[in-house]
């Protein structure tokens, strides 16, 4: 057993963190968010140069052959910086699907930053059920509605799930320009889109029986989000401790009040518990036994979601009025953490799944 990073992983961590420290200060982030696309093409190119966009792909596919640990490292840094780029959609979700299906020629285009993708799976009535797909595919054409598609507005191609005549949920590649899209910002400053497909032609069949693959990449995405949440939580927890040390009331720093000290300690405990489970999720994201993997990922989502909620709420509380303002970075962490808890189902949803699957220990 070894929790240490390898030399290469350490270098990766340092270079991502340096890039973001230089170019992702909070004011810059707010400027990227206000730009028409809502994120930075320049940073996207910088990620490509660092090899981040080809992280999980094999070298012959233009990638660097990284695994879940590398993804964890990058996502944690993104969490700390509140990064806005479509990494989860393009690299983790769609990259994860394309590298396991016949479309390997697209991978170098993801890696070099020239191809943006979005995973168009959720639907207006699906809520968190992964197998609720009403969209139909027939004679090479897809018809249906996709809801809250992350970064669906800037994607060039979409990986769409649809049911065929045999009732199978498959995965299909379509040109995003051949759909009707309505893009919008999300509560945490990211982007998403509502997408309508009306006989949109299929460019490539990725999987006719796609459920196992969907579950797999969603599990990987949850592991990645867990790492992102840990990055955000750590930064927010540190921000709060700094504030407790500097904000004075009653003539003393408020951090001298024991009630607040204990609360800050509980925030640290929650963050560390989440960090541990994000590591567990990272370790289990590659597990071949789908049932075991799903339980582990659900467990991680529960812990991370609960910690995220606690740390987010307490951070606002301990900041007082300042925590409520849009000008302050803290509130943006809180909102991102809230939405990460929501994505792919909140903590209690996964708790229920885990309990139904028999729990973690025999």
């Amino acid at each position: 057993m070894d929790f240490d990073l390898t030399e290469e992983q350490r270098l990766l961590k340092e270079s991502v963190e340096r890039l973001l420290a230089d170019r992702y200060a909070f004011e810059q982030r707010q400027a990227y968010q206000k730009s028409p696309e809502g994120w930075s093409r320049e940073l996207w190119r910088a990620y490509a140069e660092l090899g981040l966009l080809g992280l999980p792909f094999a070298e012959e596919e233009g990638g660097v052959g990284g695994g879940p640990v590398e993804t964890m490292i990058v996502m944690e840094a993104f969490g700390r910086a509140l990064a806005l780029e479509p990494y989860l959609s393009t690299v983790v979700l769609c990259g994860g699907i394309l590298r396991r299906t016949g479309q390997k020629e697209l991978l170098p285009r993801i890696a070099d930053g020239s191809l943006l993708l979005a995973f168009a799976h959720g639907e207006p009535r699906s809520r968190w059920r992964l197998d609720h797909v009403e969209t139909q595919v027939e004679n090479g054409r897809v018809t249906g509605e996709k809801a809250v598609v992350l970064h669906g507005d800037s994607a060039e191609k979409l990986v769409v799930s649809a049911r065929d005549g045999k009732g199978r949920i498959g995965l299909y590649l379509v040109d995003a320009g051949a759909t009707a899209r309505r893009g919008y910002p999300t509560q945490d400053g990211q982007r998403a889109a509502e997408i309508r497909l009306d006989g949109t032609p299929v460019e490539a069949v990725l999987a006719e029986d796609g459920m196992p693959l969907i579950e797999r990449v969603v599990d990987e995405a949850i592991a990645a989000l867990a790492a992102e949440a840990v990055g955000a939580m750590t930064a927010l927890q540190e921000l709060t401790v700094d504030y407790l040390k500097t904000r004075k009331q009653f003539g003393v720093p408020i951090g001298t009040f024991q009630a607040l000290q204990h609360r800050a300690v509980d925030m640290l405990v929650a963050t560390e518990q989440a960090r541990s489970m994000a590591m567990f999720a990272t370790m289990m994201a590659g597990e071949e036994d789908a049932a075991e993997r799903r339980k582990a990922i659900a467990a991680a989502k529960v812990q991370v979601g609960r910690s995220a909620r606690f740390v987010g709420q307490q951070a606002i509380q301990l900041h007082g009025g300042i925590g409520m303002t849009a000008e302050y970075k803290g509130g943006h962490y809180f909102k991102r953490l809230t939405m990460i808890d929501q994505m792919f189902g909140p903590a209690d949803h996964h708790l229920e799944r885990l309990a139904e699957a028999g729990g973690l220990f025999d």
Partner: protein, 393 residues
């Protein structure tokens, strides 16, 4: 002990309920149910409807338009108003500065300000907090210097709710910088149109605009706008802050929110999920307990001799705010994936909604409602009060 309302109280409740049912403007009621922000007009219109009925300021003395209601009747009135739902009267005039003027102001101030508060001809805001004076309010620095028949006010207030609409602000200002910090403060009434006042909006995390910074740069205030005595402002401020005893729990509001959560959860099929039903029921149990606690406080009111703030109100504040926040978390869960899209509150009324229309305000409300455990004395400060005043620690 009989925990039921008397027949007279029930008759009163029915009367109030019918009035609210028939008189809250439909567009205002819809906004309240949906959790969308009210505009100035909604609040002013409603206040005038209440005033016409004689119910604008029921907690004031009869000579100033009040009702001689028992504590139970006042409780019923507040509860029914929240349940209806009807807008809460703007507290800054009716529950804050009004009672201070009644208790400590002079006749001329009463005649000048009270009727206009009751009818919301003047919109008041509360200038207490400053950047350096939040929980430690008495450390405030905004200075008022007496020059002949005027005060010259310099300094800054912050978190001033709805100052953008305000005609008047009541301010705590330091008039004697040499005195102990609680002893050099005065309570001034300041016309917002006076030269030298600047209002700057603060956008909150939900994207809303409800708070502001208010800057004072050599603002001249006639001495006749001093309430009570100079340097006695802290006493009046304590009176003001302790005045609201039963309203703060907002039991009716939480009931109305839970009703809404259940209706929406039914719509999306979530009420079929026993786990979700249990979570709702658990909040309902807490709320029922709070309601009974509140009724105990209301009933005890009859026996109170002094007008000192009741430390029990801190219990109501803590629990009430926690329960309100819990209802917003349940609503967020009901929204599901459609909690995510951000729809600016003012815009988009003409565009079709993203997902179900009711979903858009739910995440912003969750974010925004973190405020209720911060303002009006944070929940930590309330715990300090209980520890000291009830437990003697």
């Amino acid at each position: 002990m009989d925990l039921r309302f008397t027949p007279e109280e029930i008759a009163f409740r029915d009367e109030v309920r019918a009035f609210f049912r028939d008189n809250v403007p439909a567009k205002t009621r819809e906004k309240l149910i949906a959790g969308r922000p009210l505009d100035k007009d909604d609040i002013v219109t409603w206040q005038r409807i209440l005033n016409k009925r004689g119910w604008a300021v029921p907690n004031w003395p009869v000579e100033w338009g009040g009702q001689n209601w028992s504590p139970v009747q006042r409780y019923i009135f507040d509860e029914e108003m929240q349940l209806a739902p009807a807008p809460q009267p703007l507290p800054f005039g009716v529950s804050m500065v009004g009672p201070v003027i009644i208790a400590f102001g002079n006749e001329q101030q009463k005649k000048r300000f009270l009727p206009r508060i009751a009818n919301l001809d003047d919109w008041w805001c509360q200038g207490f907090s400053e950047p350096g004076a939040g929980s430690d309010l008495a450390s405030l620095k905004t200075r008022a210097e007496r020059k002949g028949d005027r005060y010259i006010v310099n300094g800054q207030k912050t978190w001033t709710t709805l100052a953008q609409y305000a005609d008047w602000i009541f301010c705590l200002c330091r008039t004697d910088p040499a005195a102990k910090k609680q002893e050099g403060i005065s309570f001034l009434l300041i016309d917002m149109k006076t030269p030298g006042i600047t209002v700057r909006p603060i956008v909150t995390i939900d994207g809303g605009r409800e708070v502001n910074e208010v800057f004072f740069d050599d603002v001249e205030v006639p001495v006749e706008n001093l309430v009570g005595e100079e340097n006695k402002g802290w006493t009046y401020a304590k009176f003001l802050l302790g005045n609201e005893r039963t309203g703060i729990a907002r039991v009716g509001l939480s009931k109305q929110r839970l009703r809404r959560v259940k209706a929406l959860a039914r719509e999306v099929g979530l009420m079929d999920d026993p786990r979700f039903r249990e979570k709702v029921a658990a909040v309902e149990v807490e709320l029922k307990a709070l309601e009974m606690t509140q009724l105990r406080v209301v009933a005890a009111e009859r026996h109170r001799k002094d007008k000192k703030p009741d430390p029990f109100s801190s219990i109501l504040k803590i629990k009430g705010s926690e329960i309100q926040q819990a209802t917003t978390e349940l609503a967020l869960e009901v929204a599901g994936p459609y909690a995510m899209p951000y729809v600016p509150p003012q815009e988009g009324r003409n565009e079709p909604p993203i997902g179900p229309e009711w979903a858009a305000p739910l995440a912003p409300t969750y974010f925004n409602w973190r405020k209720v455990s911060i303002y009006g004395g944070s929940n930590e400060i309330q715990r300090n009060i209980i520890a000291k005043a009830i437990l003697g620690l």
